[in-house]
Symmetry: C2
Subunit: 337 residues, 2 copies
Amino acid sequence: MTIKDIARNCGVSVSTVSRVLNHHPDVSQEVRQKVLDEVERCSYVPNNSARDLVRTRSDAIGVVVRGTGNLFFSAVLKAISTEIERCGYTMVLHYIDTDADEVKAGAVLEREKKLRGLIFLGGRFDYRPTELTTVTVPYVCCSFTNCFGSLEEQAYSSVSIDDYQTAFRAVEELIRRGHRSIAAVLPGTGDRSISELRYRGFCAALENNGIQPNPELLEETGGGFEMADIYQGVCRLIERTKDFTALFTLSDTAGMAAIKALEDHGLHVPEDVSVIAIDGLAVSEYAIPTLTTMVQPAEEMGKETVRILANMLRDPAYFRHKLLETKLREGASVRSI
Amino acid sequence: MTIKDIARNCGVSVSTVSRVLNHHPDVSQEVRQKVLDEVERCSYVPNNSARDLVRTRSDAIGVVVRGTGNLFFSAVLKAISTEIERCGYTMVLHYIDTDADEVKAGAVLEREKKLRGLIFLGGRFDYRPTELTTVTVPYVCCSFTNCFGSLEEQAYSSVSIDDYQTAFRAVEELIRRGHRSIAAVLPGTGDRSISELRYRGFCAALENNGIQPNPELLEETGGGFEMADIYQGVCRLIERTKDFTALFTLSDTAGMAAIKALEDHGLHVPEDVSVIAIDGLAVSEYAIPTLTTMVQPAEEMGKETVRILANMLRDPAYFRHKLLETKLREGASVRSI
């Protein structure tokens, strides 16, 4: 696919396509839209010389990764990296801690590296528009969206799963397998984060099946996402009560840490306690037992994020909020009772 | 630490320091060496304005990561990223498959992104000088070095562990615990890669203890490094013979996959078979049982790589080949017999 193909498909000249890509005003709105639609439909990637025509600043796309130990993000990052390159841009990577401010980091990166666009891989769910004024380039939230915040929908893009719905389905699976005393170990339940969203899905699935969420079966880690935090949370839960047959966790690494804590207390998985998680990492397939988990499409998530950003760079009015499907990977950590 | 401190410590003017950093010829060799030694001693990081003085091309450092599913590399990469930023450079990341050519990828990246330097995270151990002529910027091999190749020592730098010695010590640990029938599942034994190096260490430890390596107890995966490859390799081994009490594997993920394969065949770890690995990932601490492994210092490896490259960028004559220490992390996957 070249700029000539785009021009031919649209019935316009090559220079018209170039003017559209270059945001020249002397193109009718109708032609402009036709060209942009075709560019999007074909996932057209400008070649170097064409890109040089439209390039006004650098070709750098910043990627701010929040959470340095997150194995799911490692999987998404590979797809982001590959797709950024395929699209002819340069990726500038920046890691921050889970409790650091990704917007501030992104704004600094934008200025220092003269970015054309930004990808936040992990971040807060509650942005206010005033906070985002420091970011002046197009940006895509990857793996999260602004469901607790007040950003205008067209001010940004996002690619994520439906966290609420995915947690709901995971817990429904436990209930379908006969479980009714279901515990949860989570970073937090009112922190306006991924943890709160998934906790809401957890509660909704229980209530949908006539089960009242039991505060005794809930353990919060105070924000900690690391395997050590979850391990300790599960230990506290077990020391308080063993009155549950299943445990819901937020991520595959959390699920693996939970299984370890259960086994270390003499509780076997799945004989004594079933464990379910969300992510679908390769490494959790080799956990003992193989983790039952809701698979997030890591590669698709990374690719979609870059494609949407590339469209935003071509067309300042473009935005998308894409929810990706998750699906159950049946392992051996959940049994029917 | 500023350029003024460097100048004062050396008893020269600020402009002399600047001329040295900028590779101006009008500085005596003696003064030049004194300044460069001080810059290295202080781990001096030029600030932006000082850097602008010396900057001739971009501030981009390319990082070519070979092996997209390598969890150890993910840990090293975070340290590389943080240190590149701390040094005031910009990281350009590029992933390639385990069987792809990192030199070719690096050469393309160098031209396209106008790199100042390159880091190869993972790569071949047998470079010939003619192959490397396409890479014209300073480069550091991270996690490997050129022990099967013919590069001049001063043509590049490297930061790695002593693969032979680390494997030797892992196998010595198994022998110390009473094991003498020790199997190995590896990508290859004559592939001039990390696998061959570690296999040589494995054999040397056996021979050092009067044990003849037994070809029956060796299984090669034909180059495969993935968990699925190792899992299948261990399955083939078990189906051929169960006449071993311990198993040596190349990496933590390989160790975890091996434990899974053993358990799936009804062999318990460590009751029936002890398993040892090399890496020391966080995730393998939560494996069941906790993996006994030789810990590579991932963070130090990443930091040292960038520091050495920064010195190479300041001083064209600079090179270093650094071997980092590994240490045993006692888990529960090895028992005494």
